[in-house]
């Protein structure tokens, strides 16, 4: 029972109301044995950083389909840093144009998963990255 569980916050920042993708990923991570804190729609950067802090998560997974990722993600990264969460793994999923991937990486996002990514790939990536960190 004392094995370490990976804790993941799955959040949808911004105003778009499409949470199907986030729910599919949340469910897949659960089935992979992770503890998923699901916060629902329309989360502000402050709410996401606060939840990440209180829940002491290893991973923050953001789902953005509105196109506002380059506005929202920097704010979230800043708030996470303000809360002392420099080491948390940030991954982003959703509709992310190819040319935006590098800017997101520069911000500290380590994984970007577009449409058609298999949940196995996401799970494998998270496991690998979290194990490296520990």
């Amino acid at each position: 029972m004392s094995e370490r569980k990976i804790r993941v916050l799955v959040a949808k920042p911004g105003l778009d109301g499409h949470d199907r993708g986030a729910k599919v990923v949340a469910r897949a991570l659960r089935d992979a044995g992770m503890e998923v804190i699901y916060t629902g729609l329309r989360q502000t950067p402050e709410m996401i950083a606060e939840a990440a802090l209180q829940e002491d998560v290893d991973v923050v997974g953001l789902s953005v389909l509105s196109g506002a990722h380059l506005t929202l993600v920097p704010k979230i990264v800043d708030r996470l840093k303000e809360n002392g969460l420099d080491d948390v793994l940030i991954v982003v999923g959703g509709i992310i144009p190819a040319e935006d991937i590098e800017p997101l990486r520069q911000l500290g996002v380590r994984g970007v998963f577009g449409p058609g990514t298999s949940t196995e790939d996401i799970i494998a990536f998270i496991r690998e990255q979290v194990n490296v960190a520990n």
Binding site: G40, E55, D56
Partner: protein, 337 residues
Amino acid sequence: MSLTEPILRGERRAIARQISGIENERPEARQVLAELYPHTGRAYLVGLTGAPGTGKSTLVNELAKAYRRENKTVAIISVDPTSPFSGGAILGDRIRMADLAGDPGVFVRSMATRGSLGGLARATADAAKVFDAAGFEIILIETVGVGQAEVEIAGLAHSVVVVEAPGLGDEVQAIKAGILEIADVFVVNKADREGASRTVAALTMMLDLTDPSLPKTVLHHGQLMAVAATVSNPTRVELAAWRPPICKTVATQGQGIAEVIAALAEHRTYQLNQGMLVQRERERLIFEIQQMLKERLLADLLDKTSPERVNQILTQVLERQLDPFAAVEILAKVDVM
């Protein structure tokens, strides 16, 4: 560096890390817990339990807001079930608690049961101690959606709120043993729905049946008959009996929340006046220490027995060469073998 000092100062990151440490059974976490223990015992622990979908999380959200209006700091521990198949969990209670975001006087922590069956996680009681030591005045503990037998919360909280909703059961459900017996306060949530008054009536009837000071009127073959009270010494009853009030709420609209807060305050006063808080605390500690002792003895015993030996005994039970009682006898006597 030890987390003890930062936790006592109320530093949120330290609190969060310590709770993870407890969940993951890290030895340092146990040490910190030992250091925090002298600083605990000040918080008021309120448990909320009830069937899935009765509105526990929404009610917790509303109660937290109400306590914040009284300027009391609030910690929330929300427990959701771990999948018995994958070991994973979806912890979704924060969805209903978005109102509390951004308030530094509130701390919400979601927790998975990780195999515990009593409605709480193994780490819940210790997480509550962390919040207590960090200075939170009110600790709201929401159990998983429970059926009838998950009563562990009664051993942990000072006051237990059992949340019901219309349409979940009839009068016979109400007189069955289980979670209804642990209620200090009943909440009939979703009271704007059809059947709410029936639910209140069923609970009232159940309470009338168990209240020894009340003369009863029972329906017997269609005839109303009076039955004398079962306890003849009313002063003793007055001292001992707490009759759980029944509050009607519509948590999504904040209706009836003030009444729940008032009922809890009354229960708290009652406990303080009757000296029952000490008694409950004592019972709670006995329960907690027994649990830890069980786990420790089991772990020790299994340490001393080789897995091959355990497997061998299991196979014998499986093949009906040994009954389970005999298997336990053999395993329990491993010391003397």
